[in-house]
Structures are given as C-alpha cells and as structure tokens.
Amino acid sequence: MVTSSTELAYNSKIEGEVVVSRADAVINWIRSNSMWPMPMGLACCAIELMAVGASRFDIARFGAEVMRFSPRQADVMIVAGTVTYKMASAVRRIYDQMPDPKWVIAMGACASSGGMYRSYAVLQGVDRVIPVDVYVSGCPPRPEALLDALMKLQDKVKRQPSARNLLHSA
C-alpha cells in the first residue's frame, strides 16, 4: 500500500491498534529500558552513583532511576566501590537474591580489579565472586562513564535471545 503519510510515530488509526514485531525485540525493549539498579555502594564511587541519579546527569533518561535497596526488585547490580573480602560474601548473597534476568556493572577501578588496593583485605575484582557484564574504568568514573556503561549494557540486553531463553527455561 502506497501512502503519503510521513508520520514516524505509531498511529492507531493507520495501524489498526496492532503492532507486529519479534518477541525478542519487545522483551528486550522492555527489559533494557527499565533496568532497576541495585546500588551496591561500597565506597566513594557511590557518591558518583548518587550524582548519576541526581538531576544534572539524570539516569532516569535511560529508565534506570529506580534504585531498589531490595535485591528482589532489582535487575542490575551496580557494584560501586571497594569490595573487601569481608564484604564479598554479602555481595554474592545479594546477587543470588536478585531474580533472573540480572546483570552486573562493576563501577570503577576497585570493583573491576581491586584498584589501588593491592592488599590482604581487598577482593581483586568483584568478578571473582559474581559475573560482571560491564566494567567501568575510572577512580571514580565520571557520571557520563556510568551512563555509557548503562547504554552498553542496554545494547547487550538488546542482543540477547530472550524469547528462546524464556521458552527453554519454562
């Protein structure tokens, strides 16, 4: 059908209130645009994490402003800060309490690799106890870097075969 319409948005009069898409695209669109973070603020990176949530940088633009302090309502754990060995078990337990699907951002040098803390007390990278999807460099990272990490994670989620995973797990 040839149409002269130049509208880019969804128009229910034209589309007849029906949208055709792939299940993957829909599921991933929903998931990636409402990633509720579990703010695992352990050190100074948590201050930058707060800045990301505040109005100047505004993580709400990417649908991730709903910081959930209950892991059972969270989708992405943002490990912001130095993970000591004493804390590592707690981080892992909180990760285990998050419902699938779940993702992890290691924010900053300490969470990614132990950072400058080459010592007996500090876990040398949170990826030793939980799987990490995106690493953010910086000490601490700029808020833009965390937003970039979130967008990277959204890209990753958008590539996932979510429908197949759901059907296989069901």
Partner: protein
C-alpha cells in the same frame, strides 16, 4: 609546650617508674604495664586529659624484646595539649595489656582494632572481638611477619566460598605502588617482604 614538659616532670615525681620517651612533637612517657592504669587514671582525673584520641600499637619485629608496645594519645580539651603514653607488653608471644575502657569509653573500639591488627589481648575489655577482619580470620595483619599482599585464607562465608571457588589470595603487588623503595631510613630492611612479590593476576604466587 613547656607547661606539659613541667607536667611530665611532676608525673615522674608521683610515678617514679615513668621514664621520658623520645618524641618529635608532643611530650611522651614510657610506663610499665603494671602501672599503666594507675597512671592513666591519674592523668584523666587530676591531669585534665579528658579525651583519649587514639590507642594503637607498635610491632618492633620478631626477635626484638619487648616486641609489642601499646601507645595511648591523650588530649586535654581545656588546655589543648597532648600527651603520649607508651607501655611495652611483657609477653612477646601472647601480648596482653590492661584495658582502658573503664577510664575512657573511647578505648573500646581502639583496643578492638589493636587486637584485630596486632593480636594484643586487652585484659578486662568488655567485648574483645575483631573489629575490621572477620572473627575467624587467623592472622594479625599489622604484625611484621605478615606480608602486605596477604596469606591465602578461605572466605568468611564457607557456603559462598564453595559456590564461587573464591578465596582470599595474595594480592599481586607487581612492584608497587605502596612498596617502600630503598634509600632513606633503610626501608629495604624495614619492609623486605614486599620485594619478592612479583606474581601477577595471570601468574599465580609460587608455592613456598
């Protein structure tokens, strides 16, 4: 400063066991552990030192006797002057010291930290548990024989340790940045254990 110098002289008249301690800043005295609490009590009630700012310890290294010294930093909020009191532990293997928690409640956590880091037992402490490391941690990290990188130890939560396979591993030092460089103060001898820590994330620490 001269006022407190007079104070230490008066202190030595009252407590003949007290000796002067070399110090670059504030007046400092040594005292035997047996007289420590009496001295601190006197300083608090009569000397005006109403604030205990710090309790810490020194490990003079293995083979040195006395090996452990506990250091108290007192402050007078009325006169704005400091006094440092040091007491050497009698036992080098199981160091003990009477607690100062009865005099200053602030001593509670300071003594727990000294216990955690040096293994000094404070007799009479109401709740002598580790304050930084977990209770089952077997080492005392600020003792001289303890390497900065750490010693392989299981994680505090054994369930998590079994699930993740992670454990407390010696951190890769790779020459720095906190390794003392040789030069002034003979730091090479002071901290020799960090020197051979050449293992990295990829190359595990060789078995001793």
């Amino acid at each position: 400063m001269p006022a407190t110098a007079d104070a230490t002289a008066a202190l030595k008249l009252r407590f003949p066991q007290v000796t002067d301690r070399a110090s670059l800043d504030h007046p400092a005295v040594n005292v035997p552990p047996a007289d420590l609490i009496a001295l601190l009590d006197h300083l608090r009630t009569d000397g005006g030192f109403d604030l205990l700012t710090d309790v810490t310890a020194i490990d003079w290294a293995e083979g040195v006797s006395p090996r452990f010294t506990v250091v108290y930093h007192l402050f007078s909020t009325a006169r704005h002057d400091y006094l440092r009191v040091a007491a050497a532990c009698a036992d080098n293997l199981a160091p003990t010291m009477p607690t100062a928690t009865g005099l200053w409640p602030a001593a509670d956590w300071h003594e727990r930290e000294a216990f955690d880091m040096f293994g000094i037992k404070f007799d009479g402490h109401p709740d002598l548990r580790r304050i930084l490391m977990w209770d089952e941690y077997p080492h005392f990290p600020l003792r001289k024989e303890f390497p900065l990188a750490g010693i392989e130890t299981p994680l505090p939560d054994l369930e998590i340790a079994a699930e993740t396979g992670a454990s407390l591993k010696p951190a890769p030092m790779m020459g720095g940045p906190f390794v003392a460089s040789p030069g002034e103060m003979n730091l090479t001898e002071a901290e020799p254990r960090a020197k051979d820590e050449s293992w990295t994330e990829r190359r595990e620490k060789p078995e001793a």
